[in-house]
């Protein structure tokens, strides 16, 4: 019986900035779906959207990252709105999580575990050079049943976690890059990556994960945030068919 694990490799590839790697297209978007996962076709799933975890700032001429609080507020707001709107377009009820109503310590701890688990999946399953043989045919990571205690009042079937990291180049850095380019030297562009995951709120199982290591869209704007969310939700399970398939 063919396994139903679904791991997608987006067609979007980029040429690495380094001249050495320029000949080799590098896949930067991937997703995975838990084996056998499907939304219940009868009733629309209720998904709790946790506040996006955002890191945004400026890369100085010296290459140092500096947080920007104003951008942080804008990105958090725009990504949250984009997630809810995108869910609506897909016939899925997405509701924003009210941090004030949650067990905040439990949520903080599970956010930390979530980052750790996704980092592990990226390294050992999706992108890294040291895959785990026991995971070749499976995608079965979990945050554990403790997630059910985070926001029981929300009565959500699933939780959606999203992380976004954007480093924009300062004017000084862009000028320095221009000078470097004129002198024939390459440079590394600003960093933009993110991931999103759908968690079963009963048992903590990660049922879908989308990762984009070279994301697009200026997430400080509504339009850019929508573009980012659409990219990250590539391969998000489709409810209409009752099966977890790529769009």
């Amino acid at each position: 019986m063919a396994r139903r694990l679904s791991i997608g490799l987006a067609l979007a590839t980029v040429l690495a900035a380094s001249p050495i790697l320029a000949q080799a297209p590098v896949a930067t978007e991937k997703y995975a779906v838990r084996e056998g996962f499907a939304f219940t076709p009868e009733t629309p799933p209720r998904i709790l959207v946790f506040r996006p975890e955002v890191k945004v700032g400026e890369q100085t001429t010296a290459g140092i990252f500096q947080n920007n609080a104003e951008w942080h507020a804008a990105v958090t707001r725009e990504l949250s709105a984009a997630l809810v709107a995108t869910g609506g377009k897909r016939g899925i009820e997405m509701v924003l999580h009210d941090d004030r109503a949650a067990n905040s310590q439990l949520l903080t701890e599970h956010r930390a575990l979530f980052r750790l688990v996704v980092g592990t999946i990226i390294r050992h399953k999706l992108f890294g050079k040291d895959p785990l043989p026991s995971k070749v045919d499976s995608f079965d990571w979990s945050l554990g049943s403790g997630v059910a205690k985070i926001a029981p009042a929300a009565k959500a079937d699933y939780g959606l976690f999203l992380l976004s990291h954007d480093s924009f180049e300062s004017a000084g850095r862009r000028a320095a890059k221009l000078v470097a380019a004129l002198m024939g030297n390459g440079d590394i562009a600003g960093t933009h990556f993110g991931y999103a995951a759908l968690i079963d709120m009963k048992n903590g199982d990660i049922v879908w994960l989308g990762v984009d290591l070279k994301a697009g869209g200026d997430v400080r704007t509504a339009e850019g945030a929508t573009q980012r969310v659409e990219q990250l939700l590539n391969g998000f399970p489709v409810r209409a068919s009752g099966k977890a398939v790529a769009p």
Binding site: L113, L132, G144
Partner: protein, 200 residues
């Protein structure tokens, strides 16, 4: 939140590891044939060793569960390779160490390895490593920049003057509790083979 793409894909980890799957319920030689253990399903063995006397396994990834075997560490030996850039020397095992001193050896070695002082040892009690009398110790620590607590449990015994130690560590949430009983069973049923150490 300290995250980078390099960290995500593991590119910043200098020791590239190749992993091999272990067969469930089939006994395997561990750490140079000095330990014979029987894993349950889902474990992977790393080619990157923590020291000349050690071997690492994981089920879901080292950050989520790490099972380390140390076998036949001789008098004057250390648990781990000295980490790059470490300013302190790793403590050395002495064959006349008491059980509490072995726990201190483990604790101090890991403080240096983790570069952290937030390392707390809990219950210490008699236990068996296979058929050998030893000591079991529980501990926890908060990893810097990660925002979560890891729990660990080790069982150690001195056999023929050499140190044998099995250590399991995992995030406190979900992963530690899920596997610790399985690990205790593995530790209780493994075989220490000091005769193999004599041939070294």
């Amino acid at each position: 939140m300290a995250i980078s793409i390099l960290a995500l894909v593991g590119a910043s980890v200098p020791a590239f590891a190749e992993w091999k799957a272990l067969i469930a319920d089939q006994s395997v030689n561990v750490a140079g044939k000095l330990i014979f253990a029987t894993p349950k399903a889902g474990w992977n063995r790393s080619s990157a060793r923590p020291s000349d006397h050690g071997e690492r396994w994981t089920r879901d990834g080292l950050a989520l569960n790490e099972l380390t075997f140390f076998a036949a560490i001789p008098d004057g030996g250390t648990l781990y390779h000295t980490p790059y850039g470490a300013t302190q020397k790793l403590p050395k095992f002495r064959s006349n160490m008491l059980a509490t001193e072995i726990v201190e050896l483990f604790e101090n070695s890991n403080r240096i390895l983790l570069n952290s002082s937030v390392f707390s040892v809990g219950a210490v009690e008699p236990a068996r490593l296979g058929k050998h009398e030893g000591v079991r110790f529980a501990y926890s620590y908060a990893a810097q920049d990660e925002g979560l607590t890891r729990k660990g449990e080790g069982v150690a015994a001195i056999v023929d003057g050499k140190l044998y130690l099995v250590n399991f560590i995992a995030p406190e949430i979900h992963y530690f509790d899920r596997d610790i009983e399985e690990i205790r069973q593995l530790v209780a049923t493994l075989q220490v083979r000091p005769s193999q150490a004599m041939r070294r």
